[in-house]
C-alpha cells in the first residue's frame, strides 16, 4: 500500500486551476534568543486544498503560522503567495486561534463583520456583505446574539466565519477546535467538512490530534520535535466529502496506524 505522493498518476487528473500553488513556504529558519525553533521547513498549499501540519506541542507549529501571516520575520527563507513574495507582510492571509477571540461587546454579526470594517468598509455595508454567509455557516438566527450567549462550538463557528471574511482564499487555522470537548469537536468536524464543500478556499491547519488531521485533510505534513522540520508528507486519498462512517473505515485506521508509527519514532 502506498501513502506517498505519487506525483504523476494522481495529479494528472486534476485540472490546471486546482493544481496551482497558492502558498509556498520556502526553507524557513527561525531561532529565539539563540535557540533554534524552526530548522528548515518547506511546504506548499494548492488551490482548494486542506493541508494539516501535525506535530507535538511546542514543536514550532504556531511559529510557522506567525511567519506565514507576516507577524514574524524568518531568519532565513521566504513566503510566496500567488507567486509574490509576502515574507514579513501582514494583511494577506486570515488567521484563526484556539481561542475564539470574539469581542464580548459586539454581537455576532458585528464580530463577523469586523475584518471588513478594518479594511475600511462602513458598518452598514459590511453587515450586508456578511449576512448571506450566516445561512451557509449554520449561524442563521444568531446574528444579534452576543458571544456569551453562544455555546463553545457555535462561538468557534462564528470565529471561523470571521476568519473567512478577512481572506477567502487562504486560511490559517491554529488548533481551532483544541478547546472543545470531544463530542462538540467531532460535530464541528462534520460541520466544517460540509461548509468547505461550498467554499473556494485553501486551508492550512494545525493540530496534534491524528484523527482530526486524517478526517479533515487532503495532505498531512508531519513535523519533528523542536527544532521543527518536515519529516513526512502523507496524502489522504479518502474521497470527499467525508462523513461520520469514514472514521471507522479500514482505510482511516490504516492511516492512523501509519502516522502513529511515525510519531512514535519521534521520541
Amino acid at each position: 500500500m502506498n501513502f506517498y505522493p505519487n506525483d504523476d498518476k494522481s495529479s494528472v487528473k486534476l485540472n490546471e486551476d486546482k493544481n496551482s500553488i497558492k502558498l509556498e513556504v520556502k526553507n524557513i529558519k527561525k531561532s529565539f534568543e539563540g535557540i533554534l525553533v524552526i530548522e528548515n521547513v518547506s511546504l506548499y498549499l494548492k488551490n482548494k486544498e486542506f493541508v494539516t501540519i501535525l506535530g507535538l506541542s511546542g514543536s514550532g507549529k504556531s511559529t510557522i503560522f506567525n511567519i506565514i501571516s507576516g507577524l514574524m520575520i524568518p531568519d532565513e527563507g521566504e513566503i510566496i503567495i500567488d507567486g509574490e513574495d509576502y515574507t514579513g507582510k501582514t494583511g494577506r492571509v486570515s488567521y484563526m486561534y484556539q481561542k475564539d477571540l470574539l469581542l464580548p461587546w459586539k454581537n455576532i454579526i458585528d464580530n463577523v463583520a469586523l475584518p471588513l470594517v478594518i479594511k475600511g468598509i462602513n458598518k452598514k455595508d459590511s453587515r450586508k456583505e456578511v449576512e448571506p454567509y450566516f445561512e451557509i455557516f449554520g449561524l442563521k438566527g444568531y446574528e444579534k446574539k452576543y458571544p456569551h450567549q453562544l455555546s463553545g462550538g457555535m462561538r468557534q463557528r462564528a470565529a471561523f466565519l470571521r476568519t473567512y471574511m478577512f481572506s477567502r482564499d487562504i486560511m490559517l487555522l491554529d488548533e481551532p477546535f483544541g478547546g472543545l470537548d470531544a463530542i462538540t469537536r467531532s460535530r464541528i468536524h462534520y460541520w466544517l467538512m460540509e461548509v468547505l464543500e461550498k467554499l473556494e478556499t485553501s486551508v492550512l491547519f494545525i493540530t496534534h490530534d491524528i484523527e482530526e488531521a486524517i478526517f479533515l485533510s487532503n495532505r498531512i505534513y508531519i513535523l519533528s520535535d523542536k527544532p521543527a522540520k518536515v519529516i513526512d508528507e502523507i496524502i489522504i486519498d479518502i474521497p470527499r466529502p467525508r462523513t461520520k462512517d469514514v472514521t471507522t473505515s479500514v482505510r482511516f485506521n490504516e492511516f492512523k496506524k501509519h502516522i502513529l508509527n511515525i510519531m512514535d519514532r519521534l521520541y
Binding site: T90, S94, I118, L150, S151, G153, M154, F166, D181, T184
Partner: protein, 284 residues
C-alpha cells in the same frame, strides 16, 4: 449536566431558552429569594442596632449634645431638610465637577500611557506614589492657595477620584488579550481601529468599576474640603452645627451624605447598564 449543556448544536440551546424550562426558572427564583433574604438580614441587623442605640441614649440618660437618640435625629432630619437643600446642591455640584475633571484627565493620561510605553514607565509609579499622600493634609494648602470658593473643594474631589478612575482605564486597556492584538495585527488593522474597536470598549468595561468606587469617594472628598471653610455645602453645615452642639443636626447631615452617595452609586450602575447592552442579555 453542565457538560451536556455545553455541547454545541442548536437543539439543547433551544431547550434552554424555552420559558417553560422549569429547572432554569426554579434556579432563578431560588436565587432571587436568597438575595432578598440576604438583604433582609442586614436590614434587620441595622434596625436592631438602631433600637439598641435608642435604648442606650434614653435609659443611660446621655445628654442630647453628646449623643442624640435615633428618634431625635429622625425628627430633626425631617425638620432641617429644607435648610439642607442648598448645602446639598453645592456639595453635589462640587462632587460632580470633580468627577468629570477626573474622568477627562484620567482618559487622556490612560491613552497616552497606552500608546507611549516610555510615558507609562515615567508616570505610573508616580501615580501610585501619589496615593500615599494624605489628601486631608493637602486640603488646608488648597485653601491657602485658592481661597474659600469652590475650587479647593473640587480639587480635593478630583484628587480622591482620579486614582481609581485612571487605574481602571489603564487596567482595561492592559487586559486586552495579546492574541487578539496579534489577530488585529495580522489583519493589518491601524492603531486607530484597534483603539476604537478593542482598547476603548475594554477600557470602558473596567472604567465603570473604577467610577463606582470614585463616586462614593467624591461626596466624602467634597465634604472634607468644606470642613476647612466655605460658604455653603454639607461640610460647612456640619461644622456650624457642631460648634453649636446640635449633634442631632450633625447626624441628619450624615444621613443626607449617606443617601446621596448611595444614589450616585445607583446612578452609575444605571448608566453602566445602558452603556453596555451586551450585559443586559442573560448568559446561556
Amino acid at each position: 449536566m453542565r457538560k451536556l449543556q455545553n455541547t454545541e448544536g442548536s437543539k439543547d440551546r433551544e431547550a434552554n431558552e424555552k420559558p417553560g424550562n422549569w429547572k432554569v426558572n426554579f434556579n432563578k427564583n431560588a436565587n432571587m429569594i436568597k438575595q432578598t433574604v440576604d438583604k433582609s438580614i442586614s436590614m434587620v441587623f441595622l434596625i436592631l442596632l438602631l433600637i439598641l442605640w435608642q435604648i442606650i441614649s434614653s435609659v443611660g440618660s446621655i445628654p442630647k449634645y453628646i449623643l442624640p437618640s435615633p428618634l431625635d435625629v429622625g425628627i430633626t432630619f425631617v425638620k432641617v431638610l429644607p435648610d439642607l437643600k442648598d448645602h446639598l446642591l453645592t456639595t453635589l455640584w462640587e462632587a460632580i465637577v470633580g468627577i468629570v475633571i477626573s474622568i477627562i484627565v484620567s482618559f487622556v493620561l490612560a491613552v497616552l500611557m497606552d500608546s507611549i510605553a516610555f510615558f507609562k514607565k515615567a508616570i505610573y509609579p508616580i501615580l501610585i506614589l501619589s496615593q500615599t499622600i494624605p489628601i486631608i493634609a493637602l486640603a488646608p494648602l488648597f485653601i491657602i492657595w485658592f481661597g474659600f470658593g469652590l475650587i479647593p473643594k473640587i480639587l480635593v474631589v478630583t484628587l480622591v477620584c482620579f486614582f481609581p478612575i485612571v487605574v481602571s482605564f489603564v487596567d482595561g486597556m492592559d487586559s486586552v488579550d495579546s492574541d487578539l492584538l496579534n489577530l488585529m495585527k495580522s489583519m493589518k488593522a491601524s492603531k486607530l481601529m484597534v483603539f476604537r474597536h478593542i482598547k476603548l470598549p475594554a477600557a470602558i468595561v473596567s472604567f465603570f468599576s473604577g467610577l463606582r468606587i470614585a463616586m462614593t469617594y467624591s461626596v466624602m472628598g467634597a465634604v472634607i474640603g468644606e470642613w476647612l471653610g466655605g460658604e455653603k455645602g454639607l461640610g460647612v453645615y456640619m461644622m456650624r452645627v457642631k460648634h453649636s452642639y446640635s449633634l442631632d443636626k450633625f447626624f441628619a447631615a450624615i444621613i443626607v451624605i449617606v443617601v446621596l452617595s448611595m444614589l450616585l452609586f445607583k446612578l452609575i450602575s444605571l448608566i453602566e447598564y445602558f452603556c453596555m447592552p451586551w450585559k443586559k442579555v442573560k448568559a446561556r
